[in-house]
C-alpha cells in the first residue's frame, strides 16, 4: 500500500472495535484457508508439471475421509463466523433504554434531522459523546440509507415506515455519513457530517440558536391546529378514544385483535385511520394525508407520547 492510505475508517462508536475484530478474524480464517489452497496449487503446479508428452500419472485413490473433512471443517468455522456476526447484529437491534432519540427524515436529496428539544438541522447530526443515541428514520419519497462508516452501522430508510439505528459515539470529532441506497440523480450528494461533541458542548449547542419550540410543543400546536381536539378529548368524552396514556399500550381493535400503540401505529392512524380501527368506535376519523408531512407526524407522535396518565386529579384538567 502506498503510504498514507488508511485501511479502515476511524473507530468512533462502541460497535466499531467489535466489527473490526470480526473483520480481522474473518480475514485470518478465510485468508489462511485461501493461502493454503493457493500454496498447494503452486506446489502441485511446479512439482507435477508435465515433463514428457506421453507421461502417465499415477492413480490417486480418493478417500471419503478427505471429502468429509473439507466439508465439515469449513462448515464448523463458518458457524463461528455466523455466531459472531449474529451477536453484533443482535446488539444493533437493541438500543439501551433511555437512549437519546433523534428523528431523521430523508428525501431526495437531503437529510432533515430534529432533536426532541426542538433543534433542527440539515445534513448534519450533532450528538453527545458517550451516550446511546437512537435514530428514528423515515423517508418522504424513495428508499435511502443512513450509513456512518466510522460507527460501522447503516440502515435503510424507507418511505411509509420507521426504521431505527442506534450507536454510542466514543470519540469526539467529525465523521462522514452517506446515503448508501441508490436514490436517483444526486444520490452521491446526499451525505453529511456527524459531529460528536462533549456533553456540555452538546447542551450548549442544543440551547443555542433560534430553537424555541420543542418537538412536543410543536406537536401540541399541530394537534390544536388540525382540530384533533374536536374528537380526541382527554376525558374520553369525544367521539374518539382519548390519546392520554395510549402510547406504548396495547389497543383493542374492532376485529378483536390487539395492536401495540407504537410510532408506526400512530403514524398509520393519522394517515390511514380506516386501516385499523379501535374497538368501540366508528371509523369517522378523516385521513390527514397531504396535510401533514413526515416531520409533523413525528412531532404529533412526540406529543401523543408525552400524554401520560396523570397521577393527580387536578392535572387532568390541564391535559387536552
Amino acid at each position: 500500500m502506498p503510504p498514507g492510505i488508511p485501511l479502515a475508517p476511524p473507530q468512533a462508536s462502541t460497535f466499531a472495535p467489535g466489527v473490526d475484530h470480526l473483520f480481522l478474524f474473518l480475514l485470518g480464517v478465510t485468508g489462511s484457508v485461501a493461502i493454503l489452497v493457493f500454496v498447494l496449487i503452486f506446489i502441485f503446479a511446479v512439482k507435477y508439471r508435465r515433463r514428457s508428452p506421453d507421461e502417465v500419472p499415477p492413480r490417486v485413490h480418493e478417500t471419503m475421509f478427505l471429502e468429509v473433512a473439507w466439508i465439515g471443517i469449513p462448515f464448523l468455522l463458518m458457524l463461528v463466523m455466523f455466531g459472531w456476526g449474529a451477536e453484533i447484529y443482535y446488539e444493533e437491534f437493541h438500543p439501551p433504554p433511555g437512549s437519546l432519540e433523534i428523528f431523521v427524515v430523508g428525501k431526495q436529496w437531503m437529510w432533515k434531522l430534529q432533536h426532541p428539544e426542538g433543534k433542527r438541522e440539515i445534513d448534519e447530526l450533532h450528538v453527545p459523546v458517550g451516550r446511546p443515541v437512537k435514530l428514528t428514520m423515515t423517508s418522504e419519497d424513495v428508499i435511502h440509507d443512513f450509513f456512518i462508516p466510522a460507527f460501522r452501522i447503516k440502515k435503510d430508510v424507507l418511505p411509509g415506515r420507521y426504521s431505527s439505528l442506534w450507536f454510542e459515539a466514543t470519540k469526539t470529532g467529525t465523521y462522514h455519513f452517506f446515503c448508501s441506497q441508490y436514490c436517483g440523480t444526486n444520490h452521491s450528494e446526499m451525505k453529511g457530517w456527524v459531529v460528536v461533541m462533549n456533553p456540555a458542548e452538546y447542551q450548549q449547542w442544543l440551547s443555542g440558536g433560534a430553537g424555541g419550540e420543542t418537538m412536543e410543543q410543536a406537536g401540541a400546536r399541530l394537534f390544536q391546529k388540525l382540530a384533533c381536539t374536536n374528537c380526541h378529548r382527554s376525558d374520553n368524552s369525544g367521539r374518539a378514544p382519548t390519546l392520554v396514556g395510549v402510547y406504548g399500550r396495547p389497543v383493542k381493535l374492532v376485529d378483536g385483535s390487539t395492536v401495540m400503540a407504537d410510532d408506526a401505529y400512530i403514524r398509520e392512524s393519522i394517515l390511514r385511520p380506516a386501516a385499523r380501527v379501535a374497538a368501540g368506535y366508528q371509523p369517522i376519523m378523516p385521513t390527514f394525508q397531504g396535510q401533514v408531512n413526515e416531520e409533523s407526524i413525528l412531532q404529533l407522535i412526540a406529543y401523543i407520547k408525552s400524554l401520560k396518565i396523570p397521577e393527580s386529579p387536578e392535572r387532568m384538567k390541564a391535559a387536552p
Binding site: I5, P6, L7, L22, F23, L26, T30, A34, V37, F38, L40, I41, F44, A45, Y48, R50, R51, P53, V56, P57, P58, R59, V60, E62, L66, E67, W70, I71, P74, F75, M78, L79, M81, F82, W84, G85, A86, I88, Y89, F93, Q108, V142, I143, D145, F147, P149, K154, K155, D156, L158, P159, G160, R161, F178, S180, Y182, T185, H187, S188, E189
Partner: protein, 544 residues
C-alpha cells in the same frame, strides 16, 4: 508441453462440416444446428459485452477525480445502470450456457442436436428482441435505476426509459427459460448408449443445474418486472407505500431470482473449470460425485438465501439470522469444488496451455470472491460493508474474475472444435496473464475502498478515496486491453490459425471424437460409451 497434432490442411478444407455446409446470411439466420446457434449467440453476446464494457470504461474514467471527470451525475447513473443491465442479463447469464452449452451439450452426450432445435433458434430470436428493447432504452436517453430496479424509485420516481429496459429484461427471460427446458429434456432423453448419469462430464451436470435455475427462477423476475410496469403505468399500489404498496416485497421478489441468477453465472463456469483441470492434468477429477452433486446442491440451496441482500433493508432480526446461516450453507458446496480441483492436480501431469492458465486464474479469483462472501454473510460485518465498494469488488471477483475467466478458458479450450483452427498460443498466454493482473489491480483496491466506507453508485466522492480510485481505473485500462487481445487474435485465427486436429489436447469426452469442426450431424455413427468420464490412463502404484 503437449505438441499439437495438426491435420493435413487439404483434408480439412475439402471436408464438409457445419461451417461450410451452407453459405449466406439466410443459412445462418434460419439454422437449427445447435453449433451454428451457439455462434449466433457468440457474436451477439460479444456485441453486448462491448456495450457493457464501454460503459464500464466511462464509469472508471469518471471516477478518476472526486468531482467526476467526464459526465454529470445523471449521466453517470445511466452508465452504471446500462453496464449492470447489459452485463448481467445480456452477457453473463447467456454467456457460457448459450454459447458453450449450446455447442457442447449435444456433442458431449453423443447426440445429434438438442431435443428441440427450432425452439433453440427461437430462444436466440427472443434474446435478440429483448436486447433490442434494452438498446432502444439506451439510445432513447437511457435508464437510471441500476440493474436492480429498486421500487419505488423505478416504479414511481425515475423519469427515464424504465419501461423499455425492463421489458427487454422481461423478454430475454423467456430465452433463458426455453434454453433451460431444451437442455433438461436433451440431457434426460438424448444421451448416447452407455452414457449413464454418472458418466456425464461435469460440464453437463453444471448445465443441468443451471437449467433448473433458469426454469424455476426466471418466471419470478418476469412477474416482478410486470408488477413494476403495472405500478408505473396503471398506478396500482404494489411496491410504493404512498399507493399502499410494500417496497420490501419488491426486494424479496427481485432477489428470489437474482441470487440464484448469480449461480446461473457461476455454475457453468465451474463446469468449464472441471473440464479444464482434468484435461490439462491428465487426471480423472478427484471426487466426481461430490463435484457433480455440489452443482445440484448449489442450485437448490441457492433459492433459500435471497434475503442476505436485505440485512439492512428492514427485515427482522430473526430473518437476518436465518438467511445468514443459510448463506453459509450454500458456501459449502462451492468450497468443496475448489478443494476437489486442487486435489485433482495432485500427482497429475500438468501442462500450461492458455486454457489452463485461464483455469488457474479462475480458481484464484473465484476463491478471493468466495472468501469475501464469507464476510458478507456474517451479519455484523455486512451491516458495515453492505452497499459499499466491498460488495462491488466481491461480486466482480465472482462474476468477472470467476465467470469471465472460465468463459475465456472454455472458448480457448474448445476453439479448435468450434472453428477448426488453433489460436496463437503465445498471445493467448500473454492475454491470460494481462487479464489476471489487470483484474486484481482494478478490483482489489475496491475492497479497501468499501471497508473505508465508499458507497456504491457514487459519481462524486470525498477526496480521501481518490488514490484507490485512480489505482482501480489504472487496472481497468490494463484489463480492457487484456480483453481486446483475444477478440483480435481469435477473429484472426478463424482464417489464419493453424488447422486443428480433432483432439489437439488429447482430451477425453465425446466432443473430441467428432472431427474439428464437426459435421452438421456431429457424429457419423452414434458413439457408444463404455467408460467413466475423464478416463485418462493412469499407472497403478502399489499402496500399502
Amino acid at each position: 508441453m503437449s505438441t499439437l497434432s495438426v491435420e493435413e490442411p487439404e483434408q480439412a478444407e475439402s471436408r464438409v462440416h457445419y461451417l461450410n455446409v451452407h453459405y449466406g446470411v439466410k443459412s445462418w439466420l434460419l439454422t437449427t444446428d445447435h453449433k451454428r446457434i451457439a455462434l449466433l449467440y457468440l457474436a451477439s453476446i460479444t456485441l453486448f459485452f462491448l456495450v457493457g464494457g464501454s460503459a464500464a470504461v466511462l464509469i472508471r474514467m469518471n471516477l478518476l477525480t472526486p468531482t467526476g471527470l467526464l459526465v454529470e451525475p445523471a449521466t453517470y447513473n445511466k452508465l452504471f445502470s446500462i453496464h449492470g443491465i447489459v452485463m448481467v442479463f445480456f452477457f453473463l447469464i447467456p454467456s457460457i450456457p448459450a454459447v458453450l452449452g449450446n455447442f457442447l451439450v449435444p456433442l458431449m452426450i453423443g447426440a445429434r442436436d438438442l431435443a428441440f432445435p427450432k425452439l433453440n433458434l427461437l430462444s436466440w430470436y427472443v434474446y435478440i428482441v429483448g436486447g433490442l428493447f434494452t438498446l432502444y432504452a439506451v439510445i432513447a436517453g437511457g435508464v437510471d435505476t441500476g440493474w436492480t430496479f429498486y421500487a419505488p424509485y423505478s416504479s414511481t420516481y425515475s423519469n427515464t426509459h424504465v419501461m423499455a429496459a425492463a421489458l427487454g429484461v422481461f423478454i430475454t427471460g423467456f430465452s433463458s427459460i426455453l434454453t433451460g427446458l431444451n437442455f433438461i429434456v436433451t440431457i434426460h432423453k438424448m444421451r448416447a448408449p452407455g452414457m449413464t448419469w454418472f458418466r456425464l462430464p461435469l460440464f453437463i451436470w453444471a448445465m443441468y443445474a443451471t437449467s433448473v435455475i433458469f426454469i424455476l427462477g426466471t418466471p419470478v423476475i418476469g412477474i416482478t418486472i410486470l408488477l413494476i410496469a403495472l405500478e408505473r403505468a396503471a398506478h396500482l399500489g404494489i411496491f410504493n407505500p404512498a399507493l399502499g404498496g410494500d417496497p420490501l416485497l419488491f426486494q424479496h421478489l427481485f432477489w428470489f431470482y437474482s441470487h440464484p441468477a448469480v449461480y446461473i453465472m457461476i455454475l457453468p463456469a465451474m463446469g468449464v473449470e472441471s473440464e479444464l483441470i482434468t484435461c490439462f492434468s491428465k487426471k480423472r477429477i478427484f471426487g466426481y460425485s461430490f463435484v457433480a452433486m455440489s452443482s445440484l446442491a448449489i442450485a437448490l440451496l441457492g433459492f433459500l438465501v435471497w434475503a442476505h441482500h436485505m440485512f439492512v433493508a428492514g427485515v427482522s432480526m430473526y430473518a437476518g439470522m436465518v438467511f445468514s446461516i443459510l448463506s453459509y450453507l450454500v458456501a459449502v458446496p462451492s468450497s468443496v469444488k475448489v478443494f476437489n480441483w486442487t486435489a485433482t492436480l495432485y500427482k497429475g501431469s500438468i501442462s500450461y496451455e492458455a486454457p489452463m492458465l485461464y483455469g488457474m486464474g479462475f480458481i484464484g479469483l473465484f476463491s478471493m470472491g468466495g472468501v469475501t462472501g464469507m464476510f458478507l454473510a456474517s451479519l455484523g460485518m455486512d451491516v458495515h460493508v453492505h452497499d459499499t465498494y466491498f460488495v462491488i469488488a466481491h461480486f466482480h471477483y465472482i462474476m468477472v474474475g470467476g465467470a469471465v475467466m472460465a468463459y475465456l478458458g472454455g472458448i480457448h479450450f474448445w476453439w479448435p472444435k468450434i472453428s477448426g483452427r488453433m489460436y496463437p498460443e503465445g498471445w493467448a498466454r500473454f492475454s491470460a496473464l494481462i487479464i489476471f493482473l489487470g483484474f486484481n489491480l482494478t478490483f482489489f483496491p475496491q475492497y479497501i475502498l468499501g471497508y473505508l466506507g465508499m458507497p456504491r453508485r457514487y459519481p462524486v466522492y470525498p477526496p480521501e478515496f481518490q488514490v484507490l480510485n485512480v489505482m482501480s481505473t489504472a487496472g481497468a485500462s490494463i484489463l480492457g486491453v487484456g480483453y481486446l487481445i483475444p477478440l483480435i487474435y481469435l477473429i484472426w485465427s478463424m482464417r489464419y490459425g493453424p488447422v486443428a486436429s480433432s483432439n489437439p489436447w488429447g482430451a477425453k469426452g465425446l466432443e473430441w471424437q467428432a472431427p474439428s469442426p464437426p459435421p452438421t450431424d456431429n457424429f457419423e455413427e452414434t458413439p457408444v460409451v463404455t467408460a467413466q468420464a475423464y478416463d485418462y490412463p493412469s499407472r497403478e502404484v502399489e499402496v500399502a
